[in-house]
């Protein structure tokens, strides 16, 4: 019988208001007991007196690229990158080839993960067939097949009528629409945040209003027509204000932010001499906007931290700034970056961090995850909040290296990742199948 | 660059006398020739050429035309210098063709500067002849180039430098020989 005893860790579980030095006993794949000084035999004992024991983290916004771009990422590599980043569950966006818009695609991801993956994958299906914004998908069938949410992600639905119908229709199934808010006409050919730095560099700009006008539209739509709206990766202060006000009057809306928008700004494009690992959508914004994001994170307007992990090969990124694809990887850097720049600097507590990276994603996605309640599946992440290290992309499990955090000195790391009672990642290494 | 010892080669009086002798020698050789001109090599060669012009005028009442040559772009050692010197204009207010030119510089050493100057003059036209006047010949030639008029000829080693100080540029008039305690550029 497989059992794990985690001893003397600081157990933090916002889902049950827990924050105490406790032992955690896992048997088979279930959390069996949380108490002081548990005296049981276990096949594995983890001394955790310097660690934080948290519910397994959930990244509700990733791109796994399989099927279609297996040179960038695969279910094999992507789930390992997730485990190395402390994530026990991830949601993958539908912009694969083919687009994930049918039962077959969902089943494909599930079967590949069963065969090759090491964490839970919850696929997100597209809102419209082929992500082209014209015809809504078979939501009911897709929910039944396992779609956790719906999103046209990088190709947001520009037609308000279609967005309205998607919200109205999906309200039957209590699934969220994950909304990448970007007015594609305003964003046009832009590649970086419109403003001072962009004006200096002469790169085509994406005005902040490209995001906030769409946030405003969709807040109105969900308020009028129902459904559940989750705004992806907000980046603009105006979006924070719109969402804060909407929440106050009870609109059914949640939102997320990425680690890179919380910690990096548009000036980095200039400082790095146009390094394409600063090119992302939404773009890195001005410091004033970033400060608004931090306030939104503090006061709970922003519910979730998600990575928007978007792998691209060096060959694709090693181009002129305008021609390089948008996107950064983030699963393996999220925890160190957030601990270093957001938690240790006092913006939020580690408890709030866990809430935004486990508790809230589970609540929004209606998952029986993100918790250490007795009887739930043992997905557990152990964090070493004081470990000092330097981010080195060569050590990543992801197939891609497009990170803006290369060489960053960090305080705080993932120590161990346990998925369904199995130690998947420990002390810098994915545990091999044989060892497991 | 730090220098330990320095010795005086010419004081102000000696410099004046040497220049006078140089001017006389040039005038003896070329005066009366309609096509006689002086060309100074920047920077000190120009000041010396002006002195010579004045001295020749005092003796002959005739003002010999002066040209200015900036040889920077013809140097063969640009790629070995830590930085490129500022390029200044060359001003030859006469047609070089068929002129009898006396090229003036302060010190002749390896001969490379004169090589560059000759190349440049040839790009301006075809002079009838070119002669060379220098204040100091310190020997150690690397090219087969010899001056026609010499103020003072001395023996030196590559570890020494000869400094010609002129009041228009340096505030005083004298020539000194300095020892370098480590290798200098050149």
């Amino acid at each position: 019988m497989n059992s794990i005893l985690i001893k003397k860790g600081r157990v933090i579980d916002p889902s049950q208001g827990l924050d105490d030095i406790l032992d955690v006993y896992i048997s088979n794949d279930i959390i069996k007991q949380i108490a002081q000084n548990i005296n049981r035999k276990a096949s594995l004992i983890i001394e955790a007196d310097h660690l934080i024991v948290a519910p397994g983290l959930i990244d509700m916004h990733t791109h796994l690229r399989e099927p279609g771009r297996e040179d960038e990422e695969t279910i094999y590599s992507g789930t390992r990158a997730a485990a190395a980043g402390g994530f026990t569950s991830i949601c993958c966006m539908p912009n694969t080839r083919p687009i994930c818009d049918s039962r077959t695609n969902i089943k494909y991801i599930h079967s590949r993960n069963l065969e090759l993956g090491v964490v839970n994958i919850y696929p997100i299906a597209s809102i419209t067939v082929g992500q082209v914004g014209e015809e809504i998908v078979e939501f009911g069938d897709l929910v039944d097949a396992g779609a956790i949410a719906f999103s046209d992600d990088g190709l947001p639905v520009m037609n308000a009528e279609i967005m309205r119908r998607a919200l109205e229709y999906t309200s039957m199934f209590d699934v969220p629409i994950l909304d990448h808010c970007e007015d594609r006409n305003l964003a046009s050919e832009g590649v970086m945040h419109s403003g001072y730095i962009q004006s200096l560099l002469g790169l085509p700009g994406i005005p902040g209003a490209a995001e906030s006008t769409q946030v405003a539209r969709d807040v109105e739509l969900v308020e009028f027509f129902g459904g559940r709206l989750h705004i992806c990766h907000i980046s603009i202060g105006a979006s924070v204000h719109l969402i804060r006000r909407a929440k106050k009057r009870g609109v059914n809306i949640t939102c997320e932010v990425t680690p890179h928008h919380l910690t990096l700004i548009d000036a980095l494009v200039k400082e790095t001499n146009f390094d394409t690992n600063t090119k992302v959508k939404p773009p890195l914004v001005s410091e004033e906007n970033r400060q608004e994001l931090l306030r939104g994170l503090q006061d709970g307007t922003i519910d979730v931290i998600a990575t928007d992990h978007a792998p691209h090969t060096a060959k694709d990124k090693d181009k002129e700034y305008v021609d390089a694809p948008f996107g950064l990887i983030g699963m393996e850097t999220a925890v160190p970056v957030i601990l270093t720049d957001i938690v240790h600097t006092g913006v939020i507590s580690v408890n709030q961090m866990i809430e935004k990276m486990a508790t809230n994603p589970a609540r929004i996605l209606r998952l029986d995850k993100g918790t250490l309640k007795i009887g739930t599946t043992a997905d557990v992440t152990l964090l070493d909040p004081d470990k000092r290290h330097t981010i080195k992309s060569t050590a990543f499990y992801s197939l891609s290296r497009n990170t803006p955090f290369e060489g960053k000195k960090c305080k705080g790391a993932v120590d161990t990742t346990i998925v369904g009672g199995n130690v998947i990642y420990s002390k810098g290494k994915i545990v091999s199948d044989e060892e497991r | 660059m730090t220098n330990n010892k320095s010795s005086l080669l010419l004081d102000e009086k000696g410099l004046k006398k040497t220049l006078k002798n140089l001017a006389d020698a040039i005038a003896d050789d070329l005066f009366g020739d309609e096509d006689f001109v002086l060309i100074g090599i920047r920077t000190r060669g120009v000041v010396l050429a002006e002195c010579l012009q004045q001295l020749i005028k005092e003796r002959t009442k005739k003002k010999i035309p002066i040209g200015v040559l900036d040889i920077t772009l013809y140097r063969d050692d640009l790629s070995t210098l830590a930085e490129n010197p500022i390029v200044r204009a060359s001003t030859l207010p006469f047609d070089v063709n068929d002129k009898k030119i006396v090229l003036v510089d302060d010190v002749i050493y390896t001969g490379r500067t004169i090589r560059a100057a000759l190349d440049q003059i040839v790009d301006f036209g075809r002079p009838a002849l070119v002669k060379l006047a220098v204040l100091i010949d310190r020997g150690l030639r690397e090219f087969p180039i010899q001056p026609d008029f010499v103020g003072l000829k001395i023996e030196t080693s590559p570890k020494q430098i000869v400094q010609v100080r002129l009041s228009d540029i340096d505030g005083d008039d004298k020539v000194i020989l300095m020892e370098l305690n480590h290798k200098s550029g050149r």
Binding site: Y321 | Y74, S79, D123
Partner: protein, 308 residues
């Protein structure tokens, strides 16, 4: 004063002293144009490659003449004849060029930052001959050189840059150079083509032509491009000319000895009337001549220093 840079990518990164050094050298180079043999041996044996991803006969020719007058070998690598059209990446193309033995790569490219990408990855010295709307350093230098030649200096000078500032590399390089040298800059044109955040550079922003050019010592006009109209940045060329076209009549609003500059090619009758373009205030052709001297100075200064 030492010129420390291996590449010339922007004027933003140059100090006032470095810009002055280039201008001072350019003055020396301009004298060469008066000689019967307008060629010096300075860059003999060096190879300059003109890599132009956008057509620009003027800039390319200017660099070519500058390089040839320094005795460098010049190779023009234009996109239409190259493998670029076969989908070869910029870096692959440039690595090929370098393997052929280039010492300088002069590049015109539509993407801001493309020269920076090159400079990071190759050994040759990179000269930015215009990267999209970002910078066009040698144009900024030749404009500064021309102003200095005509006006003697920059202190207190009112320079107006008129036209599509948002999409202009010339405007950006001019702003960097001239503000560092002490001039006061006004940018003027339709509000859709003026980056408002440039106020942070100490630049005056003006949409009214009369207000903009009052007391102007220099008016630098930019070419107005038809493609901007297609993006609805202004309603029509006709309206642009009505509001901002520089005519002899309107020139009276500026100082009597105002200089009219234009990086070319000019649209006669659009941003500038033929009378103004050819009139006594115009130094447009002088700019072209000075461009060669400035580019010679840049090639010369970048060739300095010990081999890396």
């Amino acid at each position: 004063m030492i010129f420390q840079h291996k590449h010339l990518l922007t004027l933003e990164e140059l100090s006032r002293e470095e810009i002055e050094l280039i201008l001072e050298n350019a003055k020396g180079f301009k004298e060469i144009f008066t000689r019967s043999i307008k060629k010096v041996p300075t860059l003999r044996g060096k190879t300059v490659v003109n890599l132009f991803y956008e057509n620009s006969t003027r800039t390319r020719t200017s660099f070519e003449i500058a390089a040839k007058r320094l005795s460098a070998d010049v190779i023009n690598f234009s996109v239409s004849t190259s493998s670029v059209q076969k989908g070869e990446s910029l870096l692959d193309t440039v690595h090929t060029i370098e393997a052929l033995g280039s010492d300088f790569i002069v590049m015109r490219h539509s993407c801001p930052g493309a020269p920076q990408l090159l400079a990071r990855r190759i050994k040759s010295a990179v000269i930015n001959a215009g990267d999209g709307p970002h910078e066009h350093p040698t144009q900024g230098l030749l404009d500064a050189f021309t102003i200095k030649e005509m006006k003697g200096g920059f202190e207190g000078l009112n320079v107006v840059i008129l036209g599509d500032i948002t999409h202009s590399r010339v405007a950006r390089s001019n702003i960097w150079a001239l503000t560092k040298l002490g001039a006061k800059i006004t940018i003027a044109g339709p509000s859709t083509l003026l980056p408002k955040s440039f106020a942070r550079l100490g630049v005056r922003i003006c949409t009214d032509l009369r207000e903009a050019i009052r007391d102007a010592d220099v008016i630098n006009l930019l070419r107005i491009q038809l493609e901007r109209q297609r993006k609805n940045l202004f309603p029509s060329i006709r309206e642009y000319t009505l509001l901002y076209g520089l005519t002899e009549e309107r020139l009276k609003w500026a100082k009597k000895d105002v200089l009219i500059m234009h990086p070319g090619p000019i649209n006669r009758g659009v941003e500038i009337s033929p009378e103004v373009a050819d009139g006594k205030h115009s130094v447009i052709l002088r700019q072209v001549t000075n461009g060669v001297a400035v580019r010679m100075a840049v090639l010369y200064l970048l060739s300095g220093g010990e081999e890396a």
